[in-house]
């Protein structure tokens, strides 16, 4: 499936801002199942400096500074993407205990790289409470794939989706207590449970094809990826209780939200601010495909 993704973030300030420095994770990654045809980043007002680099996790970061006085600024990322309808690979029978032992030994480069995601990060730390919540899924001898699918079912069933009910400031144990949140809370929660079992899980920031029953499609979305030795990473979306496939567009991954925040920054001055985020994921059919995508990558 081919999509055009338009992601518009607008900041408005009560008083004009003298300068602003920002870092954005808005360029979708190229993956075996995902081809990025182009990404265009447009910033208003025009930044004085703009740079791109690849971060520690292999995501593309654009950083820019605006030194003009402004009372609003807008970042628009427009991407053209092709996502293959690859069925999720769930045939692995490796148990979660075996996975844990494998990670501890990390006999190859792939598992060493994955091992890093088994440790605490600023937003997601393992805890006895998270382990207790996960206990029903992580019974002894259960295959990892089965356990994580079950965990995703349970999060979907136990927690209610409440847009704007939480902010990133709400710690994980609060989310666990309140039993409600948004996609990033559920992703963090699931990662936290997995890390409490010493399993490797990462946070995926991305988009979702809009649909009547799909939650979180009007904003950027977040889900989870878990490492399965011998198979690689399996994505799970606890917010919608699905195994991401054609409808999920991956932008970036990291240990948690903090590693891949779509738009973050510091402004000087400007006491009050409001932010609007608008995301459109539009399926495209029958449009001509640019023949050489790589040379047309703009950002």
């Amino acid at each position: 499936m081919r999509y055009q993704v338009i992601h518009i973030t607008t900041y408005r300030y009560d008083q004009p801002v003298a300068q602003c420095l920002s870092e954005v994770h808005l360029a979708p990654r190229s993956l075996p199942r995902q081809r990025v045809l182009e990404t265009i980043l447009e910033i208003v007002p025009q930044p004085a400096v703009m740079e791109r680099r690849v971060d520690y996790y292999g995501n593309e970061i654009a950083s820019f500074s605006i030194f003009k006085r402004h009372d609003r600024f807008t970042v628009t990322a427009t991407s053209l993407i092709e996502v293959a309808a690859t069925p999720p690979e769930i045939s692995s029978r490796i148990t979660w205990e075996e996975t844990r032992a494998h990670l501890t030994l990390h006999p190859d480069e792939e598992s060493l790289a994955a091992y890093e995601f088994a440790f605490d990060s600023p937003f997601v730390a393992a805890s006895p409470e998270l382990a207790a919540y996960g206990a029903a899924s992580f019974r002894p001898g259960v295959p990892l794939v089965e356990a994580v699918i079950d965990l995703s079912h349970r999060i979907h069933a136990d927690f209610s989706y409440k847009p704007k009910s939480t902010s990133i400031d709400i710690p994980l144990h609060e989310v666990l207590k309140l039993r409600r949140g948004v996609c990033q809370d559920f992703a963090h929660l699931m990662i936290g449970v997995l890390r409490s079992y010493h399993l490797a899980a990462r946070y995926i920031s991305g988009y979702l094809r809009s649909g009547a029953k799909i939650l979180g499609a009007e904003a950027s979305h977040a889900w989870v990826s878990v490492f399965i030795p011998g198979h690689g990473w399996l994505d799970l979306d606890p917010t919608n209780d699905v195994l991401p496939s054609e409808g999920h567009v991956t932008v970036a991954w990291g240990r948690d939200y903090g590693d891949v925040t779509p738009v973050k920054g510091i402004s000087l001055g400007g006491a009050g601010q409001t932010v609007d985020v608008d995301v459109r994921v539009v399926p495209i059919t029958g449009l001509p495909v640019p023949n050489n995508s790589a040379s047309e990558l703009l950002i």
């Binding site: 400096v49 680099r53 500074s65 030194f67 440790f119 738009v263 973050k264 920054g265 000087l268 601010q273």
Partner: protein, 846 residues
Amino acid sequence: MKISRTAAELKTEEQWRYIPAPGHWDEAFRPSGFPRHAWRELAVAIRRMGVKELGRRWDVGRQLIETNGVTYNVYGDPQGKERPWHLDPIPLVIDAAEWQHIERSIAQRATLLNAMLADLYGAQRLIHDRHLPAAILFSNPGFLRPCMGIVPPDGVHLHLYAADLARSRDGTWWVISDRTQNPSGVGYALENRLVSARTLPSVFNQCQVRPLVGFLEKRRRALQMLGAHQSPNPRVVVMTPGPNNETYFEHSFLAHHWGFPLVEGADLTVRDNLVFLKTLAGLERVHVILRRTDDTFCDPLEFRGDSLLGVPGLTQAVRSGNVAMANALGSGLLETAAHMGFLPGLCRQLLGEKLHMPSVATWWCGHLDARRYVVEHLEDLVIKPAHSRPGQNPEFPAAMSADQREALIRRIEASPEDFVAQEQVDLSTAPTHTESGLAPRHVVVRVFASWDGHGYAVMPGGLTRVSTVATSLVVSMQMGGGSKDTWILSSPDHTEVLPAAPSPESAPADPSDLPSRVADNLFWLGRYSERVEAGVRLVRALLPSLSSEEDFGRTASLETTVQIMGALGYLPEEFPEMSIGQQRFSIEHLLSSMVYDPARSSGIGWNLNNIRRVAWPLKERFSQDTWRVLQQLETELSTSAPVHREYRLVAQMNLLDRVIVTLSAFAGLLMENSTRGHGWHFLQIGKRLERSLQTTEFLQATFGDPPFDLDPAMQTILQIADSSITYRTRYFTTLRPEYVLDLLVSDKANPRSLVFQLEALLGHLKKLPGYSESTEMPLPEFLAAAALKKVTETSIAELSARDRDGNMPELEDFVRRLKGDLYDISDALTALHFSHLTSVRFAPVF
């Protein structure tokens, strides 16, 4: 010659006897009671000196410390925050041979840790080849991913390294902790040296103690070298988290010693990936940052989400190679005990050498075998967090109940990589001066190594820290411990090469270097100190009106007080409806709260708090005397009101008389002891502007809604403006509005008149930087000149004319306009010179 001893002397002798604690290595004495070789001269000198003389010298030393303003801030102390540095009069002595071993070991360890940093932020061969467990790195919150791949100039991450050393009972030195981020102590060590060399001068010379200044000079040069590839004359700054930091004294001390500007994060800005210092003259490029800020507080854009202390964009500037940091960002990674057990292997692997000095025996629980050992030997060990996290303290299983130990084991099993176990460190003792004579106290020695461009040079000295009580093995400045100077004896063949004096290119800093933030604070310091004075003078002039004594010697009547306080907006709305008794009570309460209640907005105490708030970040710019006077002001004003009413008035008057004197001392010190740089001009501008504003307020209060008999009010305003005597000597006669106005508005010789303030204000504004470049007159100066012209051209006769209703419309108009002009000057000044921008973080929350 026979010396006969009195009973008192014998008692002294008794007190003087030093008995080393059994079971520990004593630095000074052998178990036989004889002093160790290196200590002989010192021991003889101190014994000869006697306890009294040592005590006397110690007092001198303590005075020196206070005069030099050596302090150490204690976190979480709401009172005062800082306290004097504790220095024991008896230094710790280390002989040349032993020092050679320490020197060699510390230089090696610094080299090793630097190589580890280069690897862990680079190829990570140590992880891939399994010389260091991956979990140690991954679980370390000090491993900053944004720093991955950044190669600092010459590959040097570690510019200053410190190690804490302890000596076990067999005399072996051990490293008990590593400081790799922004080690503190060099400045304190130097301060200790200045004091000990002065209190024990002859024995200091006799012992041929190795000097420290050479190390500091080497370090200054190394910092400048760090920017050499960017500029032939690189600018180095010392970045501090601010005056609330525990070692702020040292930040300002070192900055001052080296002649580098001391800056806070807000003084720096990043543009085009270059770092600049915001000064009055504009942006000045910065090439090297000696940072005393922790890693994650350096850049709020890439690191810590909840702090705005640092400089947004700094990491990207470092990444681009446009600024060098000492120590490199991310070097806090090795401030952990977890890797200690691996160092011998890593040393062989990276340096091909044997590790010269062992670390305290450490088991990292992430290792299965180590964890088993720890659980089996729990009671013999100290359990610590592997990576330092605030609020986590060492735990001592030996002192725990069986249940507590079980719980601890469960916590270790749940996240083993977050725990280390260490052998209980046995600390040596050294003789320390206590209230009951000399006593053994445990010591830990912090030693320093600095990159000098070719290798690591070790400072020939150190910061020795002393436990507070005999039994405690806890040695911490945060917990109230003391310190000792550390004397390294020269070996006979050693000749000290002292570096030449600083080269002339490091000339005194350009005065326009003054950071904008500092100018802003000085401006407000001037304003608040003038406000306090005005408040004190006002209350002091009005208080006598409450007294029933006719001959109180002061003139205000209750009606005058009501008139003035009403006009100044101090009286409650319902005041006119109150009975005479209630009114009296209300005034009394008001005047009392202005003096005694610091929470009363625009009261004296409130403004004094503001003085402290704006003066605190300027701490290093003022003398210790200035701080003492400020402290005295606060003490004077923190007394509570006496209960008895009649006595209260008298006490209040006395208090205000004293406060006026102290305030004058404060103002005098501020004026007389500051160099006439831009900072001084800003202080004066604030003062002149505020005094003008206060004078317009008082004029308005006196003449704004004039009663039939103006005399009492005029007498009061003359008194507030400290101009009664001038008036009497000049005019002799009874009070007349035109004379009073002449004196307070247009008399150029009266230092309280408006003309005097505005002339002074204009003079200072003309001295500010950046003005010559533009042909146009800057707005504040333009406005001040216009205001001055208006005041000079005003006719006093017209001002003092009364209309049919007895009002003075010209004066009212004049005062209202002038007040507006003064506010405009303040605004224009702010817009031109002070960056009032605070950082705001944004990240979408949905």
